[in-house]
């Protein structure tokens, strides 16, 4: 019975792996549900924020905030949101590919790039690639509060204020559904106002208390923060969904492997029995 023992050990070891991937699949599934809830819970704020900023874009204040003014770009900032842990299929790699494609495009236009990375995977990748990383934020856990992100965002906003960067982009995964997550790179600054006007077209303005400048400062800062926060929450939902799918595929593959090996094992066993029988028969005939 040559090799039967080896095959048995191999089956055993694959079964152990399968147990692990199955457990990870289930953990990811339950975490995904929670992450989706959080994503939904944070959506109203982002939407309201967008409406208020859109209103403000249509108001006619005397003060024009720098976040609203387009200027010639020499250097751009990019905030990249990735996961902290791997084993989630091509999620991070697809995002990095997309980000790198945008970065090459900017480099083609002679723009320099500053990076703010959120998540351990992005840090590792862009360190190896050799990007200019100005801020880093990782180990956020599964339910990050907005306060954990303030630092990273402020580095970029300050750089924008000081004129070090002239545009700010955000790269993250968008949650389409459990099977699909699409990487995207979108512009945060300067704020692009949408022109879907209704009754606010006429000339009007807010009363600002205490003054337009400080109010707009704070509002736009919160606006960018909320977009980044939304991005992070969405990315976590993506991570969990991608991990669930990847682990399901791994469990299925392990099952197929086990089936194949089981077949080989049975054949070997059968061959050994047949051989033994024919030996006995041959022996008996000789006597």
């Amino acid at each position: 019975m040559a090799g039967a023992k080896e095959i048995r050990t191999q089956i055993k070891s694959i079964q152990n792996t399968q147990k692990i991937t199955k457990a990870m699949e289930m953990v990811a599934a339950s975490k995904m549900r929670k992450a989706q809830d959080r994503m939904r819970a944070s959506r109203p704020y982002a939407e309201k924020m967008r409406t208020v900023v859109a209103h403000m874009g249509r108001a006619h204040p005397e003060y024009r905030h720098p976040f609203l003014i387009e200027r010639d770009a020499k250097r751009v900032g990019l905030i990249i949101i990735s996961s902290d842990r791997g084993l989630c299929g091509g999620l991070n790699i697809n995002l990095f590919k997309k980000a790198v494609r945008s970065m090459t495009e900017w480099k083609g236009q002679n723009l320099e790039i500053d990076l703010a990375v959120i998540g351990g995977k992005a840090m590792g990748f862009f360190k190896r690639l050799g990007g200019n990383v100005v801020s880093e934020n990782s180990q956020l856990g599964d339910s990050p509060g907005i306060e954990t992100l303030i630092g990273s965002v402020k580095v970029m906003l300050d750089a924008y204020d000081e004129g070090k960067i002239d545009r700010l982009y955000l790269a993250n995964n968008q949650f389409v559904n459990t099977m699909t997550q699409s990487p995207q790179v979108e512009q945060l600054l300067p704020v692009i106002g949408d022109e879907t006007d209704e009754e606010l077209k006429h000339h009007w303005d807010y009363i600002y208390e205490p003054d337009a400048r400080s109010v707009m400062d704070q509002l736009l800062m919160r606006y960018v923060e909320s977009l980044v926060y939304q991005g992070v929450v969405e990315n976590i939902a993506c991570e969990m969904a991608a991990r669930m799918v990847a682990m399901k595929a791994a469990s299925d593959n392990a099952g197929e492997l086990i089936d194949g090996l089981q077949l080989v094992y049975n054949k070997a066993r059968q061959a050994a029995i047949t051989q033994e029988l024919s030996e006995i028969v041959a022996g008996a005939a000789a006597v």
Partner: protein
């Protein structure tokens, strides 16, 4: 028909209140404001305090906010509440920390690089071991 306001109170992490009201009071930075329908557009910061929402025929509702923004349109009131305690120097400290982390991680080329290298070496060693074992098995019969 009595005129009403649509009130939304939201924070970054959840929606707190959404509905119609007759009057809303909020702790604006320059003093508390009471907002009735058809208020003129106003944009202001909020101090920590209570937002009170009066709905006709119901008891007044209270919501605590630790700061944030208030936007008023003639028939819409939006409160964008902060969840975290915010102060300029706190933000500054957080930003500095993020920068430091980046610098440290960039300088710390050793760790990540060596990890990848070690992994490659390990894979090689495992492959070598496997060949040796195979050879041994063959010669040992």
């Amino acid at each position: 028909m009595a005129m009403t306001l649509h009130v939304d109170i939201v924070s970054a992490e959840e929606e707190i209140f959404s509905g119609t009201a007759n009057m809303v009071f909020a702790p604006a930075e320059m003093g508390e404001v009471g907002i009735a329908p058809r208020h003129t557009p106003l944009l202001t910061r909020l101090k920590p305090g209570e937002v009170r929402v009066q709905v006709e025929g119901q008891e007044e509702q209270f919501f605590y906010v630790s700061g944030g923004m208030l936007e008023i349109q003639p028939h819409i009131v939006t409160v964008l509440a902060d969840t975290a305690a915010r102060a300029k120097d706190l933000d500054e400290a957080a930003a500095l920390k993020a920068k430091e982390r980046a610098e440290k991680a960039m300088e710390d080329k050793q760790s990540d690089f060596d990890y990848a290298k070690a992994q490659a070496e390990l894979a090689e060693a495992v492959a070598q071991l496997r060949t040796i074992q195979k050879l041994r098995k063959k010669s040992g019969g």
